[in-house]
Symmetry: D2
Amino acid sequence: MTRFTTTALVRFAHVDAAGIVFYPRYFEMLNGAVEDWCAQGLGADFRALHDIRGIGVPTVGLEAEFHSPSRLGDMLDIALVPLHVGRSSCRLELTFSCGGETRLIARVTLVCTDLAAMRSTPWPDDIRARMTGTAPVAA
Amino acid sequence: MTRFTTTALVRFAHVDAAGIVFYPRYFEMLNGAVEDWCAQGLGADFRALHDIRGIGVPTVGLEAEFHSPSRLGDMLDIALVPLHVGRSSCRLELTFSCGGETRLIARVTLVCTDLAAMRSTPWPDDIRARMTGTAPVAA
Amino acid sequence: MTRFTTTALVRFAHVDAAGIVFYPRYFEMLNGAVEDWCAQGLGADFRALHDIRGIGVPTVGLEAEFHSPSRLGDMLDIALVPLHVGRSSCRLELTFSCGGETRLIARVTLVCTDLAAMRSTPWPDDIRARMTGTAPVAA
Amino acid sequence: MTRFTTTALVRFAHVDAAGIVFYPRYFEMLNGAVEDWCAQGLGADFRALHDIRGIGVPTVGLEAEFHSPSRLGDMLDIALVPLHVGRSSCRLELTFSCGGETRLIARVTLVCTDLAAMRSTPWPDDIRARMTGTAPVAA
């Protein structure tokens, strides 16, 4: 499966009283990286997913280890790798690093969800093909 | 070890475009529950910890399973149980439920940290004693 | 018109690297105070407004002066006074204080909005009556 | 004085249950635009300001009018113009637009603050010169 990379800048809004990223803010960044992956890697941006296809991708499971703190102004490199793509779910690993130092490794499980029924639904074929790397994203 | 309970109301600020809690917001609530536990259960509020004792409790590990979505206006019951108290860390389980339905179970590992040195430090005796339930919180 | 009061605790999630409330977090608290006012003062909680009546109350104007910083652990007293109730809008003043010291005064203009049409709509009579203090909230 | 421009993408984390930007999130974006201006326009990034010069720029006043809602996926153009630069404060106007449509106009007053004393202090000469457009930012 294909590795996707993006970046996130540590903003003043992300840091706590100790001057380091408050960990719930990492998950906002992580969700932003998943959005970038959907838009740029899978050819299916969140607006199109939600408003046109009626699909959401809620997170049902999450694990994270925080290796080293991040500070205001750090430019974080985020690498996303799909570990497993199931019928209606996928498991992703995201590694946040800065200057080669690992800050955070997280694994999340997302479920392809029919927003009207609020029930899981199989991945659309085009999205699955790009997740598994068997189809390119149209230029 | 002693179970601690608190509550959190699902606010407009917590929900996403699908009308359910955006999961990074759960971790803000979770951190709030840990703050309540420190203040009410351990007799050591975050301000005193940070400003007077120079101690922070950053989260170094986290796992969560999201069982069922929460909606605007839900009053969530949060139960916190210490699973393990080490020399300078602790592992907590927090269960969020509403009307008896489990919404989220999370396990977090916190590290007692000397904020000046940004290095782990043993739990102060009074805090450890209350964490392990061997000393009461003064009235 | 009737004054409404509520409180908000300054959480770790609210403070910045200088240890004081990051001002966008005040507006999350302010929105929470408006939610409490709707639920407790107007007898119309946000969930009922949104899901049953199809009404939202987006903010279209805002002014704020920040008088004095707030710190972790401060319990803020919030007083809400309707300054003006129009056909489909209202103007509110909210004062945040702690121990009698003013921290923030904000004035916001909300518009009663038909969420399906995304267009302004007159306040329902029961809500207007309670806003203007001509009808009590049922016990 | 010199106009500065930057952009912000409307993320899933920014929108509310009605699918439009929850207004406190605009102020996180606004603060991010001020950070970009300091780093790129004034040659003084927030980390250097805070950690090296011991200066913060808290917001002491704010006015905003929300003209039109923004939705998930909108790329917002943000234009920042200094309206007034005083001895130790400045007043900025920020206009958020998308595809030429104005979404939000905000005016904020920032105060140059000595973080150790938590007291206002005159702008450093180099920063003032760049704010007022009388000195270029070094390449």
